[in-house]
Amino acid sequence: MTNALSPEVVEPTRGAGRGTLRYVATKVGGALVSLVLVVVLGFFLFRVLPGDPVKTITRDAPVDPARLAELRAQLGLDDPLPVQFLRYLGGLLRGDLGQSYNYRQPVLDLILDRVGPTLLLVGTATVIAAALGLWLGVRGGWRRGSRFDRASTGIALLLWSAPTFWLGMVLLTVTGTLFPSQGIIDPATPPGLLPQALDLLHHLALPCLTLVAVIYAQYLLVMRSSLLEEMNADYLTTARAKGLRDDLVRRRHAVPNALLPTVTLIFLNLGMVVSGAVTVETVFSWPGLGQLTFKAINSRDLPLLQGTFIVLAGAVLVMNLVADLLYRVIDPRVRAA
């Protein structure tokens, strides 16, 4: 009996190993192809948009036509498009994203400066929102229709449908002088880790609160509905029949199975974390990547637009890839398929 079984047991394992490799290779390959498309698209997309960078830079400045031509040459805009494209590709291969027309600084430096604040704001908000949303979702779903469920779902949906910009302004207004109105750090803050960190957190509080209030509903709803789908499953009856406490049935049996769609959502959102939350960053003048992209669009800053586009799209690609790979780890069904 054991002899007859063992080859069957061994065989799928070996196949699974090869399958994993193929699975990973396919996913990574797909991501790479997408990245190449992003790079090409990033160049041509923004050149189709209306607006002449040189005119935008010199808007309202007293310049003569000779100066405009000189500026065009300086920025390399008078070269034919294919030459500009090759220069852009060459730069990319050397890790050079070019120089911003507007800030007159290397694009890479500008982006790196903004990654920190964005990760801090959107990352913190996502973690808090996910934790809060999942917790409330589990609570509400487990006792569907209870007063708690109705209240929490109602509030979450209300906040979800509130315009971010408006909510931010309202918070800014009603909190009076409790929180600062702009930026990430006050230049008057004394140096030293503690005061700087406290000032940073002080600046972070309102934008983070706004963002959490707006986004936690999606985690709550997904968690709640996927828990509801599990509610009538036979294995829960079995678990209860074993005499497990209701609390344990929920925690050990229902939640792990209901968690899958939420994981996808979290990773998809983590990809978006980098792109920031343009509206929140704008209300609170938070110097993040979203704000930088917005400025780049407004000022037709082509190198900066390309740079931010690649970084933002790249982040989504990477996170999707991670989600795909992780899915295989946490969901045995994907492995089998």
Binding site: P65, Q74, Q182, V283, S299
Partner: protein, 599 residues
């Protein structure tokens, strides 16, 4: 259970951490204000580059003016040229040689002497280095040679006589700092703090899109500023900036909308300033767009090449109604090309709104009405016009609707389209418009806006690099323009500038209808007054100079509410810890009790 409890603890700790510093922040600005006089200004336009050779944007150049003195400055009262680094000047009989006397004893902020050699270095750098010409190149394009025979004498020889020699808006940089930067000028951000300068303030810190920090320069030749520090705080939206003024986070806000201005009016501790603007809003009428090789471009309605039709349109614009309705009264009705704030140069002529006269003009010019009451062009086809505006400009839509109604009464249907500012720029540059809204800021010297209407401003054969506002190209106007540029007798030049504007009004390619007010507000409990330019009625921010910041007068009485940050911090920390403890207790209690119930 233990894992869960740890989670709750962490969450509470995070909340506490987010909450506590609230107090340090409240204390910080006020404590900061108590020991030194700091002016905090909200800036809502982006500061992009502080390298004076590359800085174009209004916020950049405004800060540049605070860091670097020019050869000459503009008077606070009426904006006429006054001494800057140069204390006096004279022009030779050849009308080409300008000799500037540089004031003795002036020092850079690093205590090195400011001499004529620094000025010569700056101008010569711009003459020899294309990058150095990026932002201010047009000021030196007529320079032949610049020399400094000694430390107090600067001699500039121009190619042609140039009337604008006292309006050279070029920041003068220290040679001893910049000589080594010449090769990498295009990549130089000029952020080696403190940045050596000659203006009333010294740049000491800057974080892009966050803040700019300037300290008073004790070496400034006019004497140290009345405030110790000016901090510019960047705001991405003006609503938040207005809110920050109410909260007391900033002391001065500019570029307010009418709605924000009305909200701030009458608020405790806040004074509003409705200042005359130096910007005109005009309707541009496509007279037949063309390149500088006289090749027609664009798809403008050919009927508009007829000056009579353009004049009739100009007669049908009621500037008074537009100002009252579209601008909520926060503008002056416009007519002359140069705003009346520059009373010396402005013609101050009034255009009369007269639909009957406009109809007569059209009848006489041969634009018959069809059976439906609509005008026909000279080829007998129905005459309709497109009017393109900027969807980002709140006034463009109402202005467009009024114009549509007035021109409709002339029998000319108008199709109003609003597009993005960038799209509008593309459309007007390519000449693909009939009518459009446009706007320009005017400097104390009128030359820059006058060039916009010359044939030389037309785009090149590829349709690029044009600076024309309206595609105007008129021989008579060009002659007047050239005459005023080389006229060194100011009285005569004023006449020529006025004649040029009159010619422009006759051509009716640009119809000015409004000069929007600049709306500002400040904390009068912290600053009792500011120097406005022009005085009275002028602006605090965005001046042709640094007077607003340089002469800001802090309020006499102590205004800080005397919060002691450290004590409060400790108090709040304790409070939060207590609250956190209680919450923790309640949560664990409840959990235990429900668990018990179920078991």
């Amino acid at each position: 259970m233990r894992m869960r409890r740890i989670g709750v603890c962490l969450a509470v700790a995070a909340c506490a951490a987010l909450g506590t510093p609230a107090v340090t922040g409240v204390g910080a600005p006020q404590a900061h204000a108590a020991d030194s006089k700091v002016l905090r200004v909200a800036v809502t336009t982006a500061v992009a580059s502080l390298n004076p050779f590359l800085a174009y944007h209004q916020a950049d150049t405004e800060i540049g003016r605070m860091m670097y003195e020019f050869l000459t400055a503009y008077d606070q009262t009426d904006q006429h040229p006054v001494p800057g680094l140069a204390e006096s000047w004279q022009v030779g009989t050849d009308k080409l040689t300008w000799t500037f006397k540089i004031r003795q004893g002036m020092k850079w902020s690093d205590d090195k002497p400011i001499t004529a050699k620094d000025v010569a270095f700056t101008y010569n750098l711009m003459l020899t280095n294309a990058v150095a010409r990026t932002a201010n190149g047009n000021f030196v394009s007529n320079f032949d040679t610049v020399t400094a025979p000694d430390d107090t004498t600067l001699v500039v020889r121009t190619k042609q006589p140039q009337a604008t020699m006292l309006a050279l808006d070029v920041p003068i940089v220290p040679e001893h700092v910049w000589a080594s930067k010449v090769d990498k000028l295009v990549n130089y951000t000029n952020l080696d703090f403190p940045v050596v300068g000659s203006g009333p303030f010294t740049l000491v810190d800057y974080k892009p899109d966050q803040y700019v920090k300037l300290k008073a320069n004790p070496n400034f030749w006019r004497g140290k500023a009345t405030v110790d520090e000016v901090d510019f705080y960047h705001y991405d939206n003006t609503d938040a900036a207005a809110q920050a003024l109410i909260k007391g986070d900033v002391d001065l806000v500019s570029k307010l909308t009418a709605a924000q201005f009305d909200t701030l009016k009458g608020k405790d501790g806040i004074t509003t300033n409705k200042a005359v603007g130096r910007r005109f809003n005009d309707l541009i009428i496509n007279p037949g767009a063309q390149t500088n090789t006289r090749q027609p471009i664009g798809d403008g309605n050919p009927a508009l090449r007829d000056v009579k039709l353009r004049q009739a349109i100009a007669q049908a614009i009621d500037a008074k109604t537009l100002v009252d309705k579209s601008y909520g009264g926060y503008a002056e009705p416009g007519s002359s090309y140069i705003p009346p704030v520059f009373s010396k140069w402005s013609t101050n002529q009034q255009r009369t709104f007269d639909l009957a006269a406009a109809n007569r003009t059209l009848d006489e010019a041969g634009y018959r009405k069809g059976p439906d009451g609509k005008r026909l062009d000279k080829e007998g086809k129905p005459l309709t016009l497109r009017l393109i505006g900027d969807s980002g400009q709140p006034t463009d839509n109402p202005n467009g609707q009024y114009l549509k109604s007035w021109l409709g009464q002339l029998g000319i249907p108008v199709d109003v389209q609003l597009v993005s500012g960038d799209k509008l720029g593309d459309v007007t540059t390519a000449g693909n418009y009939d009518l459009s809204f446009s706007t320009w800021g005017v400097n104390p010297d009128p030359d820059a806006v006058l060039t916009l209407q010359t044939c030389a401003a037309l785009p090149d054969a590829e349709g690029k690099s044009g600076t024309t506002e309206t595609f105007t190209c008129d021989e008579q106007y060009d002659q007047l323009y050239k005459a005023q540029l080389s006229e060194l007798d100011e009285g005569k030049r004023v006449q020529e500038v006025k004649q040029a504007q009159q010619r422009l009004a006759e051509l009716a390619t640009s119809v000015t209808f409004a000069y929007p007010d600049q709306l500002e507000a400040y904390r009068s409990d912290r600053f009792s007054s500011f120097a406005v330019q022009p005085n009275p009625g002028g602006v605090i921010t965005g001046q042709n100079g640094y007077w607003g910041y340089y002469k800001a007068v802090p309020a006499a009485a102590g205004t800080s509410s005397g919060v002691t940050p450290t004590g409060l911090v400790i108090g709040i920390v304790v409070a939060v810890v207590v609250v956190a403890g209680v919450v923790l207790l309640v949560v664990s209690r409840r959990r235990k009790s429900t668990a018990d119930e179920r078991e």
